[in-house]
Amino acid sequence: MRWNSKYNSIWLLVVLICSISFTTKLVTSEQVSAILENQRKNYTAGESISLDFGLSKTVHTQLFLHSSFGSILIDSDTGSFMLPDFISKKKGLLTYELLYGTKIIYKGVLKITANRNTAVQLETYIGPPSIIVGGTDYTMQVVIPTDVYDNPLPDSTAMDMRYQFLDKEKEIEVYTASLIGWHRIHSYDVSGRLLIASKVNEKTSKEFSVEMRPSLPSDFQIYSNRNHEYADGNQITEFTTSILKDEFGNIISNGTRVDFNIKTENNIVLHTQGSTVNGVATAKILAPDDQTRWQVKAYVSGMAESNVLNLEYKSVVDNFEVKFAKKNREIKVGPLLSFMDQLIPDGAIVSMEISKQGEFIEKKIQTSFLGEVVFRLHEGFYTSGDYDLKIKALGLKKEFRSIILQ
């Protein structure tokens, strides 16, 4: 129920009056019939297709064509239509309607099939591009064979799928279905490169390759290498692995990361890592500066682990000298002597904790230079009074109580 109803009646009246006052011209729609002169229904892509209609009267007609990728409308004054080549080249069902004005006077369907007589084009998709040895993983070769007009060849087109690996060469016949031909290639137990190709009729594809990569590493051994067994905080300990291999004996891929976890006597975990080259990973770590015992174990995270390696480090010094000078405000530690009584190499860490009447003030840390470390307690920071000092170097501790600073 809307207001228009009343107004409509007024309008109708006006229209009625108008139509009486003007003479109307009647347009009679002519009856035109059409027959298709060539009853052929099947075409091969690339053939020129002409639809010739015999019309009962020569009039202007239009042809509506609906193909796979969309619709177009073409004109003719003679009733004869040459389909554009982008239509006649494309495989698929083509429905058409012949129009005279807005009237459909003929309807039909054509079927265009791929042209088997042209050179075959092969479109190949291979993936994944790398697979893991062992036979459970596989890659897939998918081939879309088409004619020169990019129409997929009909189902059940035979194609040869070929592949080569080491001394094996194989050829498999595959038939296309749903536009494609495809085939699975499972991996072997040996790593390497697989070469793949395919062939339809006389047309051969390019060469494709799929990398067969080693499987997961199996458990391995680790070894250590050091110049001496002293905890001098200076030498480097090197860890190496045995050659990492998968269960089939393939050396695992270069760059596989190996993590070395080191547990000290105090249950502190230290960490170093290395990547494999030709199956061997190497990692390095600085020696401790205090006698200790290390337990080392290496992992390829989530995949493999090594044996446990025990390493012992001996203390490098059994004593060191401390000298006080400049009213006790300059404290000289050293000379620090190593296992052969040589001066310890530069960089050994020496620390001194300063406290006053049981109250901690500061921890000074310095590295040795020419076997010596000098701590200076400046007047500006340390007023005169009694101080307690704790000096620590290479795992040894010395305590000095009530050192008087002036």
């Binding site: 809307r2 609906h66 969309g70 619709s71 409308l73 698929g92 069902l93 309607e97 879309i144 997929p152």
Partner: protein
């Protein structure tokens, strides 16, 4: 005087300086924001595309088992999304003859076919406005590396209207099958091969097997001939907003009793497209509608449900959204015993002038098809506002309906003409007169006149045993602007069509309407 001039100059200088400053700052900010656009990750990864729902055809995955790799749920969603987008951009391209978006959803070698078609159409000044409404997909193949899929889609319902030089030449509806290959490129599943194939479907018509049927030109329910004696119904306080916030089931129940006491057997109610949630129908609205229908069934009243009230787009690209709307409502109530018929839309012919008759009629025809697909058990009609339009789509509807507000004396003749022309049952779906004599309409009908009108009309419908539904039960207090506009004399008229006045007293006309 001089000082005054000086001040004016000063103001001008300062004003123009500030103006230039504003202009420069605005310009610089515009340049900066332009340079910053397009580089963000969301636009590079295409994650923000198509947030708005523009194309929602019915998609059914019939089968996803395939000899290649087993399909993941997420990938299937991605494929479906890109598959539909490929259709959508193609529809838009053929409509506008521009190839925007085509390269996102078709590979280089596939898109050239579309480009060739569109070039031809552009040259011939042809545009093809089309849409596809149903897609039954099955997965032929999914490759191990997840980069290639083969699909078969059957019974794609394709509607196309062909315009040349702006004039409609042809409308076609076709069901087609396609075979296609899609490749995953740049994060898009792009169509590589698309091949139209012979449609294998067995074409069956929809036969109403439900409780309501049309046999000959008679309506039957439950095997018995049924004559509609009915009313167009809105509750008194919520006209044109029956299922809104003020929905009150007890009021509706009481009204149903009144209607029942009047010995009427049918009501006509209205479902607003927007109010019900457009393409995503709101559950709470369906619950309310169900309550009304259940109550009607309880009281032994039949209901004609008018859909798409206040809908007005009709554009072909909007079709699938309306299909989803209708699917959700109609599927929910396909076996409801209270429904006599679905009325597609109230007075769609009033939109002919603004939207174009072909567009409206094509939309109606397709909606009828959709309703029949989801609910073959109920009848379908269209509530034309005049008897002339009732000739349209006669073969598609089960019942022909029209509204009559013109001269009562001419009615019998025009009705007879229509009856001779059609072999379907006819409903006089709306008629009535407003008793709005007063300030805004001094020449309008009084309540007495309204009573005379009904007296005369009821005689005519009884004599010819015409299916009738008059307008309406109540006088209304408020008429929404969306119904008749804002002009007070129109609104005023619309308020007094009832046979019960605002206070709830029966008007003089009541006794003549009562059977």
């Amino acid at each position: 005087m001089k000082i005054k001039n000086k001040n004016i100059y000063g103001l001008l200088v300062i004003g123009s300086f500030i103006g230039i400053l504003i202009f420069v700052v605005f310009g610089v900010s515009q340049i900066l924001s332009y340079l910053n656009s397009g580089a963000d990750r969301s636009s590079m990864l295409h994650v923000e595309l198509n947030k708005e729902e523009v194309y929602l055809p019915k998609v059914i995955w019939k089968d996803t088992t395939n000899p290649g790799r087993s399909m993941e749920k997420q990938t299937l969603l991605d494929i479906e999304k890109d598959y539909l987008n490929a259709w959508y951009v193609r529809h838009v391209a053929y409509q506008t003859n521009l190839i925007n978006g085509i390269d996102e959803y078709y590979t280089t070698s596939a898109r050239q076919h579309i480009v060739a078609n569109i070039d031809t159409n552009r040259k011939n000044n042809v545009s093809v406005i089309g849409t596809t409404t149903d897609h039954n997909l099955s997965l032929n193949f999914y490759s191990t590396d997840g980069q290639l899929v083969g699909l078969r889609v059957t019974n794609v319902r394709e509607y196309q209207s062909v315009y040349k030089d702006g004039k409609l030449l042809l409308e076609t509806v076709e069901e087609s099958d396609y075979q296609m290959l899609l490749l995953l490129e740049d994060g898009f599943w792009r169509i590589r091969h698309l091949i139209k194939e012979e449609n294998q479907a067995d074409k069956k018509g929809f036969i109403a097997k439900g409780n309501t049927q049309v046999i000959g030109n008679k309506i039957h329910t439950g095997g018995i001939e049924y004559r509609i004696k009915g009313i167009n119904y809105y509750p008194q306080h919520t006209p044109w907003d029956m299922f809104g916030d003020d929905f009150e089931m007890s009021t509706i129940s009481k009204d149903f009793d009144i209607i029942k006491d009047m010995k009427l057997n049918t009501i006509r109610i209205f479902v607003s497209y927007e109010d019900f949630g457009k393409a995503n129908v709101k559950q709470e609205k369906l619950v309310k509608l169900k309550q009304v229908l259940d109550k009607a069934a309880d009281k032994n009243l039949k209901v004609i449900v008018t859909l798409f009230d206040f809908y007005g787009d009709y554009s072909v690209l909007d079709w699938t959204l309306t299909h989803r709307h209708v699917e959700q409502i109609v599927t929910e109530f396909k076996s409801h015993p209270a429904i006599l018929a679905w009325d597609i839309k109230n007075e769609p012919n009033l939109d002919f002038k603004t939207r174009g008759q072909e567009k409206v009629v094509a939309w109606l025809r397709e909606i009828i098809h959709q309703i029949k697909k989801y609910d073959p058990y109920h009848l379908v009609t269209i509530g034309w506002s005049d008897i002339e339009s009732a000739r349209l789509l006669q073969n598609d509807v089960d019942i022909v309906s029209f509204h009559y507000y013109k001269n009562i004396d001419a009615f019998e003749e025009v009705y007879q003409e229509l009856d001779d022309e059609t072999d379907k049952p006819i409903i006089l779906q709306e008629y009535g007169i407003s008793s709005n004599r007063g300030l805004w309409n001094p020449l309008g009908a009084s309540e007495g006149k309204q009573a005379d009108y009904y007296k005369q009309f009821q005689e005519i419908v009884t004599k010819n045993s015409i299916h009738y539904m008059f307008w309406t039960l109540y006088d209304f207090e408020k008429i929404p602007n969306s119904v008749v506009g804002t002009l007070p004399w129109r609104k005023q008229k619309q308020k007094y069509f009832g046979c019960i006045d605002r206070e709830g007293a029966k008007k003089e006309s009541f006794e003549f309407i009562e059977e």
